[in-house]
Amino acid sequence: MMISYPPEILVLAAVLIPFIGALLIPVFHRAPNLREAVTLATAGALFLTVLGLLDPVLAGARPEAMNIVVVPGLALAFKVEPLGMLFALVASALWIVNSIYSIGYMRGNDEPRQTSYYVCFAVALGCTIGIAFAKNLFTLFLFYEGLTLSTYPLVTHKATPDAIRGGRIYLLLLLGTSLVLLLPAIVITWELAGTIDFTPGGILEGKASGAVIGLLLALYAFGIGKAALMPLHFWLPAAMVAPTPVSALLHAVAVVKAGVFTIVKVVVYVFGLDTLRGSDQSAWLIYVAGATVVLASLVALRQDNLKKLLAYSTVSQLSYVVLAAAILAPISLIGAALHIAAHAVSKITLFFAAGSIYTAAHKTEISEMKGIGRRMPWTMGAFAIGALSMIGLPPTAGFLGKWFMLTGAMQTSQWFAVGVIVLSTVLNASYFLPIVVTAFLREPDDNPHGKHGEAPWPIVLALTATAIGTLALFWLPDVPLALAKSMLER
């Protein structure tokens, strides 16, 4: 049915649907059931629309939509390429699951201001799709800032002093880095290349000296603060004050993935792999990303708060993607693209589980979770699958990305990168496995909260679905793999 629409219309529809949803949600402010129905319908419509684009894109089409020229050189325009397709597909699919989860969580915890919560969520998703489908750096930048701004009220949702402070760090760091570093990078790119359109093979070939390329790469790498490269990572732990569904979808999928997605996109479509390799100015990024992978894991090792641990694990996993991009081998970039998808489904599962425990047992610290797997087998079962994927063990999605990255690093003899991946796998195992062991094998303490079972069914349904997704991606990686491969075609 959907396929019968021309792809150009679908592109426009995909960007607009979440915003239309955001306008409709407040209409049903007084009827929560209808309001949530609108969210679910919007999420469903978005997913189907994005899905309708998959076949044309796999067949080699690059549908475009809209072209508002703001000033010469700056245009609001969309164009779907394979990497953006993959990102949009993952984000829109997980939005459906996350909406189901949100309903259970927000009602289960009696959260205030739910209408504005769902509105901001829809806007954030709209911005995510805008980032995924951006034809040029300006459009991407526009929605990148929109994503920061629309998620800020979600981070400060609880309006406690902690939440306000977390929000302040979030806003200052993300807007700050993008305004001070990313914007000049875009301006300089325009001045050098005379275009800021994403183009296969890059736009900077032969346009700038090696030193300028190196400077630009630094501006992009740190200007895209959402990728959480150390030392600009600390907004992510600060953002953990948000309600768990926000952490799950936005801070494990939409926001941070927008960051690493942008980095991969800039490396592939702005610099071009050949230009970067030729310039010899990108080696430092391997070290920075590698250091982030290891250091963030070391910090995660010492966390007792589950959400904090997951946040640092996210910082570490994001830098895998940056590392893979910095290796500059085509196969490692395929790994980067796969890891964006794999980490998304697995990390959202882990956050869902953390929120499930909070809702059912009101526990946030790992030390309090002894034996909790016996009361909440579904939750902790899903958690175990997510944890395996984080470590990168088969049969989970996390294995795929790591495998390609490792192959790429070995092919290009990047032994530092190989070392980092191996070391961090050990580290990941040493902070995820003890949680699973604690949950299933340790005897529970006397429980002061009385008896509790599983969380409300929408929560369990959602986390089961993403856990299945984590396994499914391992067995059926054809679509993401095909998209990742065609990303590198000129």
């Binding site: 526009l142 800032e145 701004l149 807007l175 305004l179 000049p184 301006v187």
Partner: protein, 499 residues
């Protein structure tokens, strides 16, 4: 009189109608009636200005000889793209704000003084439009004084007794500025024997070397004089108090228009008089201007961060934003100048919206002290939504008018080969993020304060102008034919004339 005649006389009508309106308003007693008259006059202005801009874009500059006396002896009204653009800007922003005035002025000013307020407002508008349209340097001085004198009265009408002091402070500084300006014009007259701007420029070109010294001195006097009027750092000290204690509508009107017209005069003096005749690069005047602009962008922004009174905070922000405008001017290239001129426009829209929001806050909550405004964003949702949008424009996030300005300014800096300047532009907008973010935090996330408790969105005739300007902030972030398009043409004309 035929229709053709009216169109021919549009340049003089642009100034004569508000002048007559001011006189008529002075005879009225009731505030509402005076508002009605002022509103009708104000709403006519953008119609005339729009017609002039269209005419100029089609047929090139208009030269109108007042009373039929040809220049350089008679006074010439000269409308080119730049002046038509500024005319439209001043009159359109005033027209959008006008509905706001009725309740705000009725609330803040005693009944028997309201008609006087509108008289002074119309006189000020006359002066501002006059400065913009005239091609005669001395005539510009006359209009400068008309606008300044009426501004002193407007400020003094503020509720707070400190308004008197603020007005007096501005009176002293403004008078010094006007004196400097007239001394500069006098020196130019000494050298060239002319007061017509185009004529002065052509006569300066043939000035001999021994006449060079007085020309430089004249430029210095004019620069300092106008810098006082446009509140260029460090000559800005009169502005924060004047904006803080003037009636809310007067603040919004002045912030959106008065400094913009002073910048216009700056552009004229630099690019249409001196730039045509002599090489400005040799005098390094742009280097000085660049240094002062950067100081304004940073120091004034930082002062804004520490300000508790929101009107003063926005006033310091205005000083910083004027820094952006003169920054682009000092680059003196196509992109930089476009950025400067388009920021005139964008900042007028953005700052107009922000000051109107504060006017609404005064109307509903009675205070603009940050400490009194906890939770007010929840009580005045539409008003503060507009504040957030305009605030984003001030920061210059993409999708707002402010971004367009910054884009051109950054390109201008790169064109000059000064890439570190790009980082200074964006770094100072980070400071704007801090002072706007601070207000957002208090307005949305702090517990509701006593003053905010009873507040709600203002009545429609106050709310609509606010929302219109906020919408314009977004509109001109995407559709820039009217803003950046015209600014680029104006910049081209100015650059083209440079020696």
């Amino acid at each position: 009189m035929t229709r053709i005649d009216v169109i021919q006389h549009l340049p003089s009508l642009q100034v004569v109608i508000p002048l007559l309106g001011a006189v008529l308003t002075a005879f009225l007693r009731r505030g509402t009636l005076a508002w009605g008259l002022a509103a009708v006059v104000t709403w006519l202005m953008p119609v005339i200005a729009g017609a002039l801009l269209l005419q100029v874009l089609q047929d090139g500059p208009i030269s109108y000889h007042l009373g039929g006396w040809p220049p350089p002896w008679g006074i010439e009204y000269r409308v080119d793209v730049l002046s038509a653009f500024v005319l439209l800007l001043v009159s359109a922003v005033s027209a959008v704000m006008m509905p706001f005035a009725r309740r705000s002025v009725a609330f803040e000013i005693e009944g028997d003084k309201q008609a006087w307020f509108y008289t002074m407002y119309l006189l000020c508008l006359t002066g501002l439009l006059g400065i913009t349209i005239t091609g005669d340097a001395f005539n510009a001085f006359v209009f400068l004084e008309i606008s300044s004198l009426s501004t002193y009265v407007l400020i003094a009408m503020g509720r707070d007794r400190r308004a008197l002091l603020a007005s007096y402070q501005y009176l002293i500084m403004g008078t010094i500025g006007a004196t400097f300006y007239v001394i500069g014009i006098g020196l130019l007259y000494l050298v060239t024997g002319s007061l017509n701007m185009v004529d002065i420029a052509s006569r300066l070109g043939s000035a001999s070397v021994e006449q060079f010294q007085p020309i430089v001195v004249a430029l210095a006097f004019l620069t300092v004089g106008i810098s006082l009027k446009l509140a260029l750092f460090p000559l800005h000290v009169w502005l924060p108090n004047a904006y803080a204690y003037a009636p809310s509508f007067a603040t919004a009107f002045l912030a959106a228009t008065a400094t913009k017209v002073a910048v216009y005069l700056f552009l004229r003096i630099f690019f249409s008089i001196f730039g045509v005749a002599i090489s400005l690069d040799a005098l390094r005047v742009f280097d000085v201007l660049l240094a002062l602009s950067l100081s304004a962008m940073f120091l004034a922004s930082i002062l804004a961060v520490y300000e508790q009174n929101l009107k003063r905070m926005l006033a310091y922000s205005s000083v910083a934003q004027i820094g952006y405008i003169t920054f682009g001017l000092s680059l003196a290239n196509q992109n930089g100048l476009t950025g400067s001129i388009v920021h005139l426009f964008n900042h007028a829209v953005i700052k107009g919206a922000l000051f109107l929001v504060l006017g609404a806050v005064v109307y509903r909550a009675g205070s603009v002290k940050l400490a009194d405004l906890g939770g007010i964003g929840r009580k005045m949702p539409l008003t503060f939504a507009a504040f957030v949008v305009a605030g984003l424009g001030l920061i210059g996030t993409p999708g707002t008018a402010g971004f367009i300005s910054k884009w051109y300014l950054a390109l201008g800096a790169l064109d000059k080969g000064q890439w570190p300047l790009v980082f200074l532009i964006v770094a100072s907008s980070l400071v704007a993020l801090i002072y706007i973010g601070r207000v957002v935090e208090v307005a949305y996330f702090h517990p509701t304060s006593e003053a905010a408790e009873k507040a709600s969105d203002p009545p429609l005739n106050m709310l609509l102008p606010i929302l219109a300007l906020a919408a314009a902030t977004i509109y001109f972030g995407f559709f820039t034919e009217l803003s950046a398009g015209a600014a680029s043409k104006a910049a081209q004309a100015l650059i083209g004339g440079l020696k």
